[in-house]
């Protein structure tokens, strides 16, 4: 579903991502772990077609992100860590805008908006301007918009930050259901307990370079993911 081959992205002299290769198959929830500034967001933004990169190749469902960006973007959803949405729109106007851009038909979008907004308990607030939403409500709206066009691949940057426990639980269920239907999810997180329980595979990145990746069992064995992460980080330093 997502193939990242030898991705390199530099900001000035600094290599934010250095020769990163990762493959994510349909049905997989893939966690992306690393310290602040390790290159997680840069990788996710490159996959989403937001950031141009210097070298390497990213393919989504076989579509090259650099060569055919619009086609690639049609099959993915990207949810950033800080959902800066359009404050001048109401929640429902925003969802309709997203549905229009992805060409979701009227009847289909109405059913999906109803179902997803009810799931996240946001229906009553859909007529409110987004400027009046709390951070958590904006997160929920961004989630709904992400699922609205039923993308094949969902890219999420720290999706659990700002969500209340119930919404967090719902999101985990939705992520699993999405992958059970053949979709894939690639997300960054600092919450290692969540990653440990939720992810099929995990990759650890440090200073732009991949330290390790594989199934959860391959990466952590009998230890906890937190211990492995700290050990790998320290070991890499040494």
């Amino acid at each position: 579903m997502l193939q990242i081959n030898h991705l390199t992205k530099t900001y000035g002299d600094k290599k934010a991502v250095d020769d990163l290769t990762l493959h994510i198959a349909p049905g997989e929830i893939y966690g992306f772990i690393g310290h602040n500034g390790a290159g997680k967001t840069t990788t996710l933004k490159s996959c989403a077609g937001i950031l141009p990169f210097d070298a390497g190749e990213i393919k989504i469902n076989g579509i090259d992100v650099s060569a055919r960006p619009l086609e690639a973007k049609r099959v993915l959803a990207y949810l950033p860590d800080n959902p800066d949405l359009y404050n001048f729109l109401s929640g429902i106007q925003y969802l309709n805008f997203i549905a229009d851009i992805f060409g979701v038909e009227k009847a289909v979008r109405a059913e999906r908006i109803r179902r997803l907004a009810d799931t996240f308990e946001l229906t009553a607030d859909l007529a409110q301007p987004i400027s009046a939403y709390s951070h958590g409500m904006k997160q929920k709206l961004a989630m709904i918009s992400g699922w609205l066009h039923e993308p094949k691949l969902i890219l999420m940057d720290e999706p659990f930050v700002g969500l209340d426990p119930k919404a967090s639980h719902l999101l985990k269920e939705m992520m699993r259901q999405h992958c059970d239907r053949g979709g894939a999810i690639f997300f960054s997180t600092h919450v290692l307990e969540v990653a440990e329980k939720l992810c099929d595979k995990v990759a650890i990145i440090k200073e732009g370079r991949l330290i390790t990746s594989g199934t959860m069992e391959e990466v952590k064995g009998d230890a906890s993911l937190e211990d492995v992460f700290l050990e790998l980080e320290d070991g890499h330093d040494a």
Binding site: Y11, G12, K45, A48, G49, I50, P52, L70, E71, K73, R74, Y78, P80, N82, D84, L85, Y86, N87, F88, L89, G91, I92, Q93, N96, F97, I98, A99, D100, I101, F102, G103, V104, E105, K106, R109, A110, R114, T123, A124, D125, L126, A127, Q128, P129, S131, A132
Partner: protein
């Protein structure tokens, strides 16, 4: 210490919005900064010159009549009016609706310091507006009455210190009032637009009436002098400047000081509550309704229009010409009988159609909706970049919004001019085509300049809409192009007929539009991707 740090942050924000680095992290070159400084000087020179022309006539008349105090009283009123109109809505946005208020208030900083640091930036803005009037007024007076230190020192104190401080406090108090009035309104942006237009109309009415007052004064000076003389602070202002009356200066300083103390007490007490008040409009419960599914291009256009409708500062700064055009159309139709005879006057008859056309083009060039349209995407730019829409579609939607809002009013004004002049086919076509071409040009130029000078580091949308190189460059290049046909006519008017000048200018506009279109379709698209 804290206050000093806050002042530094405010100055850094101002510097960044005018000359700082953009998202490419590349700092502006010295040449770019010098160019920007030259543009600012040109801006001041442009307006200053027109004001100087007015003051120059006044200064001689008033000094001859011994009414120097009235000259300075009127200059003071004009300065105050310009500062107030220019800063009152900025005060509302910057003091009470800045996005970093929460961040600053969470720090160990006294709320009064936050307020004071924000007011400091407003004072800079007031001072700039005030000097725009004060400098030409003082130059004109010195030219007419000669330079005297006794006059100059009080005038400097009044125009550079007392008046800006007084305006700062009054606009901050009005900003507070406007915030309280509009906070719970659902259509607060429309209300703000209406109030702003009323303020602007009142100011322009005052300035336009000044000429009538001058004429009346020449014939019978007592009534106006008497009317203004009844307002003691105005007399003190005038006497301090014209006669070097330090007692009057002291009286004025006491009044300004009183307003400052009382105003500050009211603002300081209420600031924390007002800045953190998040009541918003009354909650509307969502009722599911059938919606129109539209293609991406129309969805993007709708988004642009909704963004515009939600931002009074964007409407007022970007589409002022769209409000001016219908007023011009109505004015032309009402004043038809007074204007028509001018067509028969030798010299004026030939020039009038060209001047009317250029007037319409000036109104078109005042519309600069696209100039801040990329900057105001701010932190939500990621959405347009991650959605399956091409940069060409995004830029196209911004241009369409500009044309949709700005084209109909100038066409209406062009049609009114055609009804007035009843010209031949060529001039009728020009009255419609040339303002349309200028509107298209300003739309394309706005996109071009904003792609070259984007500014995403703002804490309030008003900053992105009002300041920044792209806004100023678009407006002044737009106005600057209008000088060309006028120069051609003035220099070669004897050999080149005005119809040829008009056609030549239309051709130039079309050529510039084509060049800009080509740049936007190629390099512009790449620039947008790289933002």
């Amino acid at each position: 210490m804290t206050l000093k740090a806050l002042f530094r942050v405010r100055l850094a924000a101002l510097k960044s919005s005018l000359t700082g680095a953009n998202r490419s992290k590349k700092p502006r070159t010295k040449l770019q900064i010098l160019g920007f400084a030259a543009l600012m000087l040109y801006t001041f020179g442009f307006f200053g010159f027109f004001l100087y022309e007015t003051f120059d006539t006044l200064a001689f008349a008033y000094s001859m009549l011994g009414l120097g105090w009235l000259f300075f009283a009127m200059a003071g009123l004009m300065s105050f009016g310009l500062m107030f109109v220019g800063s009152v809505f900025t005060a509302k946005a910057q003091l009470y609706e800045a996005t970093d208020n929460d961040l600053l208030l969470s720090m160990p900083i006294r709320p009064r310091d936050v307020l004071l640091s924000r007011m400091f930036l407003l004072l800079v803005l007031d001072l700039l507006f005030g000097l725009l009037v004060a400098v030409p007024a003082l130059i004109a007076w010195i030219g007419a009455a000669g330079f005297q230190v006794r006059q100059f020192v009080p005038a400097l104190l009044i125009f550079v210190v007392l008046l800006p401080l007084l305006t700062l406090m009054i606009s901050a108090l009005f900003g507070w009032l406007l915030h309280l009035i509009t906070a719970r309104m659902r259509n607060q942006s429309m209300m703000t637009v209406v109030l702003s237009l009323i303020f602007l109309a009142a100011y322009f009415y005052f300035v336009s009436q000044m000429n009538l007052w001058i004429q009346e004064l020449a014939a019978n000076p007592e009534p106006l002098a008497g009317a203004l003389g009844a307002v003691a602070p105005l007399v003190w202002l005038g006497r301090a400047c014209a006669d070097g009356d330090f007692a009057a200066l002291g009286g004025l300083a006491l009044i300004v000081g009183g307003v400052l103390i009382l105003g500050w007490m009211a603002l300081e007490r209420s600031f924390l509550r007002t800045a953190t008040d998040r009541r918003g409009a009354a909650k509307v419960k969502y009722m599911e309704k059938a919606v129109d599914a539209v293609p991406p291009g129309r969805a993007l256009l709708r988004r642009e229009l909704k963004h515009l409708a939600a931002s009074p500062a964007y409407i007022l700064n970007g589409a002022l010409g769209a409000f001016m055009a219908p007023v011009a159309a109505i004015f032309l139709l009402i004043k038809r009988e007074s204007i028509l005879p001018l067509l028969a006057v030798p010299g004026i008859g030939e020039l009038l159609p060209l001047l009317l056309l250029l007037g319409l083009c000036f109104i078109s060039a005042t519309n600069i909706l696209t100039a801040p349209s990329i900057s105001i995407e701010g932190k939500s730019l990621w959405l347009l970049q991650s959605l399956p829409v091409s940069p060409r579609e995004v830029l196209g939607a911004k241009l369409k919004m500009h044309l949709l809002i700005c084209l109909p009013p100038v066409l209406l004004a062009g049609a009114a001019a055609a009804v007035l002049l009843k010209p031949g086919a060529l001039l009728t076509a020009a009255l419609l085509l040339l303002p349309a071409a200028c509107t298209l040009f300003s739309g394309l130029l706005g996109l071009f300049e904003n792609l070259r000078h984007p500014n995403f580091d703002w804490i309030n949308e008003t900053q992105a809409v009002k300041s920044g190189a792209s806004v100023l460059l678009t407006m002044f290049i737009g106005w600057g192009t209008l000088i060309l046909p006028l120069l051609v006519f003035v220099i070669w008017g004897d050999v080149i007929p005005s119809s040829a000048v008009i056609l030549g200018f239309l051709g130039l506009m079309v050529l510039l539009c084509l060049l800009l279109w080509r740049w936007l379709s190629t390099r512009g698209v790449e620039k947008f991707r790289a933002l």
